[in-house]
Amino acid sequence: MAVPPNRRPQGRPAPASGLLRRVDAFARLAFPGFSTAFLMVLAAAPVALPSPVFAVTLPCVAFWSVFRPAAMMPPIVFLLGLLMDLLTLAPLGSGIIMLLLLQAVALRFRRFLARQSFLAVWLAFCVAAFGGAVLCWALQSLLALRLSPIAPALHAALLSCGLYPIVALVLTRVHEAMLQAENAP
């Protein structure tokens, strides 16, 4: 399910600067951040399940960082991290740092990952998710000055590994639709 890098065709006509087109471009730019935030809010809905906010946020941020970094900018990630910290009752800052580092890693290996097969990306994501969970746990323990149990963090990482294919499937469709819209003459 590797998405080909966004290669623009040669000799593409300049886009018309109509209001509609600008709105369209803004929607494409804003979609990743807003959709992720919306998903997080949905995931935080009070049901009788362990809150999957962490597990939902990670795949979204990783996917958009790898495949559309222009729309998943660090300030947006910062805000998403803040939202996650507020929704999950984690100490302020731990989720932000984790998401920003995840994005930094994703950006660092972005050119490499975009060329890999879906399975390889998934595997890399799993490693990153476990790393992120452990980092979150370490930060929380550090901020609370006592060792909290690590099992919930690992469960969240496992859950996010399992959710990644579903999220990636949907987001790949969306991403392809965006590419088509951008490449249309």
Binding site: V41, A44, M73, G93, L100
Partner: protein
Amino acid sequence: MIRLSIPLRQALARLSLPLMIAAAFGMMLLGKADALLAERLRSHLSDALSPIYAALAEPTAAVRSAVEEVGFLVALREQNATLREENERLRRWHAAALALEAENEMLRRQLNFVPEAAPAFLTARVVADGGGIYARAVLLATGPQHAVRRGQVALDDRGFVGRVTEVGSRSARVLLATDMNSRIPVTLESSRSRAIMSGTNGARPRLAHWPEGVIPAEGERVVTSAEAGAFPAGLPVGTIRLSPQGAPEIELFARLDRLDAVRLFDYGLTGILPPESVARPEPRSRRR
């Protein structure tokens, strides 16, 4: 949008990530320094989000109730099996209680009662239906070590089934109460009147020869009678049902259509033995 030169924009893009990480550390320190800040932010956020969750609550509740419904349906099966088993057990207890009550009644009426000895029984598996000369008979598999005897009473887990009519070395045949040749002395439990239950080859034997002035009531319990010394008194047989023509019939407690094992009770009674099913020609005796 503010127009910036391309190098400046690139520099900003490169700087934004470290800047944000620094801001995150700042946020962490802020959260640590002012513990109430996070709480205040959280309460503002929940205030903002509560309408969304309120809207979500309805479908969530619907889904949850649907899931519970499914779980309930799954449990229902198991519950049903348990209840069925319990019902069976209670039915046995019910029969036992009614028999005890009747016995008690009788004991009260006549003191100096000689109690019956607890009967010995053995359980045999039903291996074949029908066959033989009777229309309603079953074949039991018994061993040579079992002392099966003609005239023993067969009961299933609910009630009276029939009597042993033939005994081989490894099998025994039981004439069921529904056979046309079966005549069982019975007692109507509430009126204590004697009658004969005669089989018709149908599912419900008929009641016959009840005394004048007694009207067998629908639903009345019927038990065996000790009359003629063929059966012990008080074995549960069935209940009276009136046929569409108004004739009293007996709905047996025993499930004769699906017998799988019966208990053979030896009460040591030899009042009237059932007839031999195969009428072997007797060697002709000298004419007197």
